[in-house]
Amino acid sequence: MEQAHKEHPKYFKIFWILLALTVAEVVVVVLPIPKIVTALLLIGMACSKAIYVALYFMHLKFEQKTLTVIVLTPFIICVFLVFMLLPDLMAEARDDRPGKPESHAVDTSH
């Protein structure tokens, strides 16, 4: 196992992938496409970059599979966190519907 670890993956290949994705991200922002498409593309590319860094630079690909499962837990919990915040967001959206100026209540409360 110690011996297998010495075989390092081709890091420069990963570097070029990451660089290409970064350039693609900057380009996508200025492209005249619907905002939701831009957002989905950006999130997709960011997640791919993060996965490349974790798998190759942090060597997650070459560790025991259990470690990957352990590492994935906080990300799953973060997804839950977003859904737990959703009711708040929807409440805000409902309050906003009759009069727009009320939406600034959130700003001044700080």
Partner: protein
């Protein structure tokens, strides 16, 4: 197989199953997992605040080319970090020190650019309580004043991690220059690498969610 055999023999002394190498690595992974939660909470709440308020488009406020270059810098420093580990695992101490030096340089330039960016934005009027009336391109903007505090909290928290990383890198470099690490003994360099790549990974997320979206 071996574990089962050990159990059958009913040893009377307890032997910890975590070796010093694997314990350190597991410790760093645990820290990174909990840190993921801190950043996850920051970004999730940022999303919630942003969705509930009128928000200035980030591209009107930030110099995206500069931050894209900062992303590029961190990716480069991740490559040099992983090259440093590869070098020491092949037993090349001086090459490891050189690559650690490059990694530190990348981190320091990143921090310098962030300081430059912050100074620029604060002078422009983006503060913890205020929002400038014009974007960087001079166009009129209006929106929630929470733009400033969320931006400074998230990028500041990440910048603190980079600062910590540069100090951590320097400590390991000093030990490396003294010849502490060899082809057989280098797990501390690997643990340092885990931290540094994590900081890079977080920046990839921050760059996307705070600057681009």
């Amino acid at each position: 197989m071996e574990e089962a055999a050990t159990l059958d023999h009913s040893v009377d002394t307890y032997e910890p199953s975590l070796t010093p190498d694997s314990l350190g690595k597991l410790g760093m992974w645990l820290f990174l997992i909990s840190d993921t939660m801190s950043f996850g909470a920051l970004l999730a709440v940022y999303g919630a605040i942003r969705a509930a308020a009128a928000w200035v488009p980030p591209t009107a406020m930030f110099d995206i080319n500069l931050t894209a270059f900062m992303t590029f810098l961190l990716i480069c420093s991740s490559v040099t970090m992983v090259k440093a580990l590869e070098s020491i695992q092949n037993g090349n101490q001086s090459r490891m020190c050189m690559f650690l030096g490059f990694t530190i340089l990348g981190g320091v330039i990143f921090l310098g650019l962030q300081a430059y960016e912050w100074t620029h934005l604060i002078k422009h009027g983006l503060t913890l309580t205020g929002l400038p009336e014009h974007g960087l391109d001079g166009a009129a903007i209006s929106g929630s004043t929470l733009f400033g505090p969320t931006f400074y909290t998230i990028t500041g928290f990440h910048g603190a991690h980079v600062t910590g990383g540069v100090i951590y890198l320097t400590c390991i470099l000093i030990k490396g220059l003294r010849g502490n690490y060899t082809a057989e003994y280098n797990h501390k360099v690997e643990i340092l690498g885990l931290y540094w790549h994590f900081v890079d990974l977080i920046w990839i997320m921050v760059f996307t969610f705070v600057y681009l979206l």
